[in-house]
């Protein structure tokens, strides 16, 4: 067992891994944390919890700029279990008292973050779409407010660590560079009883779950599409432009689109180069998911639709009168 060195970092970022691979959001957060920490004279640690695959992952985290990589390695940590993970991390955080602890708003991060916040009796801002550090070095987490264009900055002024889970895809991946940080292995004291459930089976779903986050072109449809039949034209435009299909909540509820196509606060956060929203009114819950798109085009027959205030190019018209011709024109141009 390693002898514990002191951990010096003020901001800790949970480096989520699944099946021996780092999940992107852990790296995105590392990049953002470095950006916040260094001007404030702070350091950033990535926290890696698991078993056996750690060496390569540590190298990777260091190459993405982590000042420290805290490694908690134990056979009982091989699979994620919220209670065993929370126990280990809770103990570490109590021992080293970091100012800020960040996680991805993934299935694992949301669950683990929630538990840790209780264990440490501190506040947690969930599903954030932005992070700031105030001059007083308080973490301000940006969360979308109710409807409208309002965003709220949430913080926990009196408790520590200040915690947040951040939507995947909000921040960009950091640049790789020469590693200068160090690896800090820590003791893990765990009993089999701490692992309170047994994973019997992990099923991978066909299709690329993350593709939407990585897509360069996204065509999204909303309630205004009106029917399953008309939804086809959204799919057709996407295929003409070699893009992917996204949706707001209502088409998912109606069954026109799949759950994993939902973009927005409770869905995915995307950052395509081109986003085309069709029949989408521009509710904040959806718009927060596309705020990082380079170029937003909106097609809606209601000239008052909010999306027209948040787009680069707005087309006021009925998609039924526009899409068929557009698809044809695009195909023609591509053939040339």
């Amino acid at each position: 067992m390693a002898v514990n060195q002191r951990v010096k970092s003020e901001i800790w970022v949970f480096a989520e891994q699944r099946q021996g691979e780092l999940v992107d959001v852990g790296l995105e957060l590392l990049g953002k944390a470095l950006e916040l920490a260094h001007p404030a004279g702070w350091k950033v640690a990535s926290v890696l919890v698991g078993h056996a695959s750690e060496k390569a992952l540590c190298e990777q985290l260091l190459s993405f700029g982590a000042d420290e990589v805290i490694v908690a390695d134990h056979p009982l940590l091989r699979s994620y279990c919220s209670q065993s993970y929370a126990k280990i991390l809770g103990k570490l955080i109590r021992e080293y008292d970091p100012k800020v602890f960040l996680l991805g708003a993934t299935a694992m991060g949301s669950d683990l973050g929630a538990r840790l916040a209780v264990r440490l009796r501190t506040g947690l801002s969930a599903h954030c779409i932005g992070l700031e550090l105030s001059p007083e070095k308080k973490l301000l987490a940006v969360v979308p407010g109710w409807g409208g264009n309002v965003l709220a900055r949430i913080y926990s002024p009196h408790t520590q660590p200040q915690m947040a889970t951040v939507m995947p895809g909000v921040f960009n991946m950091p640049q790789e560079k020469e590693a200068t940080g160090r690896i800090v292995p820590v003791d893990v004291d765990l009993n089999p009883e701490d692992v309170t459930y047994k994973i019997l089976e992990v099923k991978r779903e066909a299709g690329q779950e993350h593709a939407l986050e990585k897509a360069e072109v996204i065509i999204a449809g909303g309630w205004g599409i009106g029917s399953r039949e008309d939804w086809q034209s959204v799919e057709d435009l996407a295929s003409a432009l070699h893009g992917m299909v996204g949706a707001t909540r209502p088409p998912v509820d109606e069954g026109w689109a799949k759950e994993n196509q939902m973009i927005g606060q409770s869905g995915r956060t995307v950052h395509p180069k081109l986003y085309i929203g069709i029949g989408i009114s521009g509710e904040m819950h959806h718009m927060v998911g596309i705020q990082n798109a380079d170029f937003i085009i909106a097609v809606n027959r209601d000239p008052e639709a909010d999306i027209f205030k948040m787009c680069d190019l707005g087309v006021v018209g009925d998609f039924k009168e526009i899409l068929p011709g557009l698809i044809e024109e695009i195909r023609e141009k591509l053939q040339k």
């Binding site: 027959r301 209601d302 000239p303 008052e304």
Partner: protein, 380 residues
């Protein structure tokens, strides 16, 4: 005076709306096309309790009452008015059986109606009758232990979807010569006749019932011999007219929603048409018609639940709400401009539906006679 719906009624409305919005729309295209009631919905409606809302609990219903029934019909009608048309006649049969049936009849015929095993039918109108109830010619002659029925009933809702019908037939002379019977479809000589092809309320079947030397056991006489007129009138006044008024109320709900939606979406002269006064007046008229109709119809429900006679109020609610539905649907069409007469927009259907409510359950003129008779006696 309390105009607030109870917690029970609010929850009823909410759950009925959910049922209607989920179950009915997928079936509406076929209903409009074929004119046929979606029979498979009957069992579901039975399970949810829609069919047994006025059926006493001991016969498989909830006995929730007349106002509850009106709320149900309104919510169904908001989505598709043909559904409450069929339901309201179903309830009329239930009402007549509950009020005039003997214990055996109630035990035998009410539970299958409440469960949705079959639909209810109230057959009063003859080709020679209608508003003139006493003009009924369908005859029932007592021969030994059976009445022999001969004749035809026309414009009968649910005619082809029911296993038994409440039928009013002539057993003697004049107004006191009418009697009501429960006639089962499998009695010899009884059968549904032609199916009508209506312009509106498509999906609520209307057709004929034909009786050719059909023997009906004495045990199937509803109430007493000679009580037929009374049964028919009470059923029409206390269940039929409030029922028709509720269908119209449902239409008015849909009309206002469609009109407002369109007025908010459609732009002319560079701004939404909801900013135009001409449009606003139409909207205000429709809104007023809806609200007045609702007050009138709910009042009748409340009166029945408190066992207060409501002949005039029922006639008023029926006449006003049905007329209001028709004129409001027309106004909604005007708000829509040419879109209003296109089949893709529901307002044209709502007008057709509203027109069908006007003669059903007593024409407007008959309702006005009732009101006039009442008013002319007020200051004596």
């Amino acid at each position: 005076m309390d105009f607030k719906l109870s917690e029970r009624e609010e929850l009823l409305r909410k759950s009925m709306r959910e049922f209607a919005e989920k179950e009915i729309p997928p079936r509406m295209e076929a209903m409009e096309e074929t004119g046929e009631f979606p029979v498979e919905l009957l069992k579901k409606m039975g399970d949810v309790g829609i069919l047994g809302v006025i059926t006493p609990q001991e016969y498989g219903g909830t006995g929730m009452g007349n106002l509850a029934r009106i709320i149900i019909l309104e919510e169904m009608g908001r989505v598709c008015p043909a559904i409450p048309m069929a339901l309201q006649v179903h309830h009329m049969a239930t009402y007549a059986l509950t009020k005039f049936g003997n214990e055996e009849q109630k035990k035998k015929y009410l539970p299958p109606l409440a469960k949705g095993e079959t639909m209810g039918v109230m057959a009063v109108t003859d080709p020679s009758g209608g508003s003139d109830v006493a003009g009924i010619k369908t005859s029932a002659k007592l021969e030994g232990d059976v009445y022999i029925l001969n004749g035809r009933k026309c414009f009968i809702t649910n005619s082809h979807f029911s296993d038994f019908w409440v039928v009013v037939a002539r057993t003697g002379e004049g107004g006191r010569g009418l009697s009501a019977f429960i006639v089962e479809k499998n009695f010899p000589g009884a059968k549904p006749g032609r199916k009508e092809n209506k312009v509106g309320l498509r999906g609520a079947n209307t057709g004929e019932l034909v009786f050719q030397n059909c023997p009906v056991p004495k045990a199937n006489l509803l109430g007493h011999e000679g009580e037929g007129m009374n049964i028919a009138i009470q059923d029409i006044v206390e269940a039929g007219r409030p029922g028709m008024a509720s269908v119209a109320l449902g239409i008015l709900n849909a009309v206002l929603e469609q009109a407002v939606k369109f007025a908010n979406e459609r732009s002319l002269y560079g701004k939404p048409i909801n900013t135009l006064q001409a449009i606003q007046w139409h909207i205000a008229d429709i809104y007023a018609d809806l609200e007045i109709s609702r007050l009138l119809v709910y009042r009748v429900g409340w009166m029945r639940d408190n066992n207060i006679r409501c002949d005039t109020e029922s006639a008023l609610a029926k006449q006003f709400a049905c007329e209001a539905a028709a004129r409001s649907a027309r106004k909604a069409i005007e708000i829509h401009g040419s879109y209003g007469v296109m089949k893709e927009y529901p307002v044209q259907r709502l007008l057709r539906d509203a027109l069908v409510t006007i003669p059903a359950g007593g024409t407007g003129e008959i309702a006005k006679l009732v009101m006039a008779r009442h008013a002319l006696n007020m200051f004596k």
